[in-house]
């Protein structure tokens, strides 16, 4: 087990390296520099700026410096938010995004698998159909459509909840963004859970459990739940990536000061280091979360050999 985990961690390095390299060279290939403004700067000032941020060095040297700094966990200074390092910006933005995204993924997992199980146990009944219809709605209405519609209904018309802002993470301010972020994944997970539960319930071990005369809830909770959850668990990797991406647009809509918003602002301002920092940071997060998911999967599934 330990060896498998280690091997997975080692396997992540090439991915990381490619991620960083791609981010770096794409950034540098882009037309327009971070200090392009309406008025042209005096050549001396330009030269000084370039020197300060090492933009005057050959590309390969910049790349080397970038990797070297990253290896020490240093994302460098932000080009636009003067006096801030990218690390500091990530440190202020990430807790907010983590709260949103973390809550969303946990809620999606529990609600989704619960709904899926219920639908599977009541297959082809009104309950099943209504859960699946809701799931289809959740999949078909993108979160950036859902969010404004919810604002329109709950904030503008009914005035129950604030339309946006973070307010230091007051509970009321988090409700709408979290629903918008969670709903599509509740939908995906409940569909996955339903079909895998239906399959598991038909399998031999379950027939045996029933033949032993175990009560139904024991059959479901003790015997069927674990194998049925496997596809859901392997979906958690892509789901996390999706929720992180989704939070970019949700933070934008609700005006939440999270990392996703820094990313969009940074991208529009050509803040090289900030954008690269966020991409690499999220990349690392996703890659390692995928490894954890794989390891958990291997732990739960007796069929996986490692």
């Amino acid at each position: 087990m330990l060896r498998y985990t280690l091997r997975r961690f080692l396997g992540a390095w090439p991915t990381l390296l490619i991620l960083m390299t791609l981010a770096f060279f794409m950034m540098r290939a882009a037309p327009g520099g971070p200090f392009d403004t309406e008025k042209t700067l005096a050549p001396e000032i330009q030269a000084n700026l370039d020197k300060k941020y090492h933009l005057d060095e050959p590309l390969i040297k910049q790349y080397g410096r970038y990797l070297f700094d990253l290896a020490q966990g240093d994302f460098g200074p932000s080009f636009q938010y003067k006096d801030y390092s990218v690390n500091e910006l990530i440190a202020t933005g990430f807790p907010v995004s983590l709260r949103l995204g973390g809550t969303a993924i946990i809620l999606a997992f529990f609600i989704g698998s619960l709904l899926g199980t219920i639908a599977a146990l009541r297959q082809n009944t009104a309950i099943d159909y209504s859960v699946m219809a809701t799931a289809m709605t959740g999949i078909s209405i993108p979160n950036f459509v859902l969010a404004p519609l919810m604002i329109l209904l709950f904030a503008v018309n009914l005035k129950w909840l604030p339309a946006g802002g973070w307010n230091d993470g007051a509970f009321k301010n988090t409700i709408l963004p979290i629903i918008a972020l969670t709903l599509p994944y509740v939908a995906y997970i409940s569909r996955l859970m339903r079909s895998s539960m239906i399959e598991v319930l038909r399998s031999n071990p379950i027939r045996t459990a029933r033949a032993k005369g175990l009560p139904e809830h024991t059959v479901i909770l003790r015997h069927a739940m674990k194998p049925a959850l496997l596809p859901v668990i392997s979906f958690l990797g892509p789901a996390t990536a999706g929720i992180l991406t989704g939070s970019v647009v949700i933070e934008q809509i609700f005006g939440i000061p999270g990392l996703g918003r820094y990313f969009v602002q940074g991208a529009l301002n050509r803040d090289y280091t900030l954008v690269m920092g966020v991409v690499v940071f999220y990349g690392i997060l996703i890659i390692f979360f995928n490894i954890i998911v794989d390891v958990v999967y291997a732990l739960l599934d007796p069929k996986v050999r490692y």
């Binding site: 290939a29 882009a30 289809m136 209405i141 950036f144």
Partner: protein
């Protein structure tokens, strides 16, 4: 035997003659029984036709600005049945033009990802061995990338170019296809007809193109109907962030974005494009589900 008997026998014979049912006619029959899928197909057909012949429906140009009618609500009297947007353009025509763009991007980008995915997956699966291992390892590595972020970067840096959108979206969507196709190819290449082709001395690229790829069609069709909505979603996502198609051209995502900006005074500008976008995604998902059930009966 009288002629009557012979006739009777013949008609009996005609009745008992069993018509062969191919995989496709079988699947077609199952699909026809799926009401949700068929309804979706019809609705999608109507939307597609509306979108293609959009200008026929309305006397207004999609980029014609009428400063006298800014953000007017839907009304039959002045002909703006979906109302007008913040600079007085007719929303009905814009919604249809936006749909044209969204659907076009959906179809073309899906084709791009299809071509890359099928050729990559079929090659890896058919050749096998080390080549397969290396090719799939590359897919694994790419799989872990936060691609959406790269697409956003791409749009920001290289301008909002529609061809770039096709390529970018196609380029992130081929990974799934490659995996599916490879798996399918692995089982196909052990089949007798491939062996026969090898024995006849057919070249490898030709076997892949003529014998493997056509047999992948079923799974590819399902995949297409599930990818198109994904692509439309990605494009809408980009357009929503203001990184997709450029004014005055529009797409559903861009319209939802514009509508969301002044939804408090003009909710119709948000509602109509949102309904069209959601309905289209709904239909594609239902058709995809229906096709999967029809082509792969073991899953039901």
């Amino acid at each position: 035997m009288t002629t009557q008997d012979i006739n009777a026998l013949q008609s009996l014979n005609n009745k008992t003659e069993i018509k062969g049912r191919s995989l496709w006619s079988d699947a077609m029959q199952r699909l026809m029984r799926n009401k949700a899928a068929i309804t979706s197909l019809v609705i999608l057909g109507i939307i597609t036709i509306m979108v293609i012949i959009a200008p026929v429906f309305s006397p207004f140009e999609f980029d014609a600005i009428d400063w006298n009618l800014i953000s007017t609500p839907p009304s039959l009297a002045n002909g703006h049945i979906f109302g007008t947007d913040a600079i007085g353009r007719d929303l009905f025509v814009r919604t249809l033009y936006g749909g044209r763009m969204s659907l076009m991007i959906g179809v073309i980008a899906t084709l791009v990802s299809l071509i890359i995915g099928i050729s990559y997956g079929a090659t890896a699966g058919y050749i096998g061995g080390k080549t397969d291992a290396i090719m799939m390892r590359i897919v694994d590595i790419l799989y872990a990338m936060p691609f959406m972020f790269f697409v956003i970067l791409l749009m920001v840096f290289f301008g909002r170019n529609i061809y770039l959108i096709f390529i970018a979206i196609g380029a992130i969507n081929w990974l799934d296809m490659a995996r599916i196709v490879r798996g399918q190819t692995l089982s196909l290449k052990r089949k007798e007809f491939v062996e026969a082709a090898v024995a006849c001395g057919v070249s490898t690229p030709r076997i892949i193109l003529r014998h493997i790829v056509p047999n992948l069609l079923g799974i590819v069709v399902v995949y297409i109907t599930l990818t198109i909505p994904q692509v439309i979603l990605v494009e809408s996502f980009l357009s929503f962030l203001g990184l997709g198609v450029q004014e005055p051209a529009t797409s559903w995502g861009a319209l939802v974005n514009e509508g969301a900006q002044d939804m408090e005074i003009a909710p119709w500008a948000l509602l109509f494009p949102a309904v069209f976008l959601a309905t289209t995604l709904f239909c594609f998902n239902f058709i995809g589900d229906g096709l999967r059930d029809a082509l792969d009966p073991k899953d039901r």
